[in-house]
Subunit: 116 residues, 2 copies
DNA sequence: TTGACAATTGAACAGTTGTTCAATTATAAT
DNA sequence: ATTATAATTGAACAACTGTTCAATTGTCAA
């Protein structure tokens, strides 16, 4: 289970024990940090930002971001696995679109944060 | 400036050119992704979560998270550099507290996202 | 069927990240 | 002054990440 360990005693054991029950479960914690990890890449933010404006296929996104199709496709896969975008095949092309309304809100809040 | 490059032509050049002016500046993009990178670690989320409940010193946080003081201190430094927490020396101890009201909101939104 | 194009894939690479360990700084108590 | 405790620091290490490159899949048009 827990393989880390402290190397000290608590200074204010009362505070620690008051806070402990408020801490989130490890499971939730990993889901949260995994979500932020996905957001923590400038290429993926660009992709989400672009798809907020319009659905687009891989080639268009590659031109827009000035990257190779391969690099874009790899990152779209990350976003797809994280369920932030979805893919739809139309003829020869695969069109990507946003799959989650929370993302826009979170991006806006983060924007407020970095802009202040 | 730009050292990446496409390996293809746009399929829908009209869409690409319609979206292009809406794209954020590289500068802003990096600030955004840097912020999410900081949030994208379960240890740092635990620290922020704990400090939302009460300010605490390094030793208490180490006990609470069951980690070494060193590991906690390293991560607190990351949060300090990102201006998400601030440190105040009180006698023998250094007390850390939240330094940004946006963080709580963003954590809540992210929580809504991963919980649905 | 053949050829061209769109997209995906996996391996490889360099660059980055988080924890550990040992050493160090700084404060408080004796 | 000396000792003990709190916290920070830097180097080292393994684990992870993002892009490139080359090869592959699947679809359309001729």
């Amino acid at each position: 289970m827990e393989n880390k360990r402290t190397d000290c005693e608590a200074i204010n054991i009362d505070i620690v024990e008051k806070v402990r029950p408020k801490m989130p479960e490890m499971n939730l914690l990993y889901e949260l940090s995994d979500f932020f990890k996905v957001m923590g890449d400038s290429t993926r933010i660009q992709l989400l930002w672009a798809l907020e404006e319009s659905e687009m296929c891989v080639g268009d996104l590659a031109v827009l971001l000035n990257m190779t199709k391969s690099a874009v496709s790899h990152q779209l896969k990350v976003l797809r696995v994280a369920k932030l975008v979805r893919a739809e095949k139309k003829g020869k092309n695969v069109y990507y679109s946003l799959n989650d309304h929370h993302v826009k809100l979170i991006l806006e809040k983060a924007l407020e944060h970095v802009c202040e």
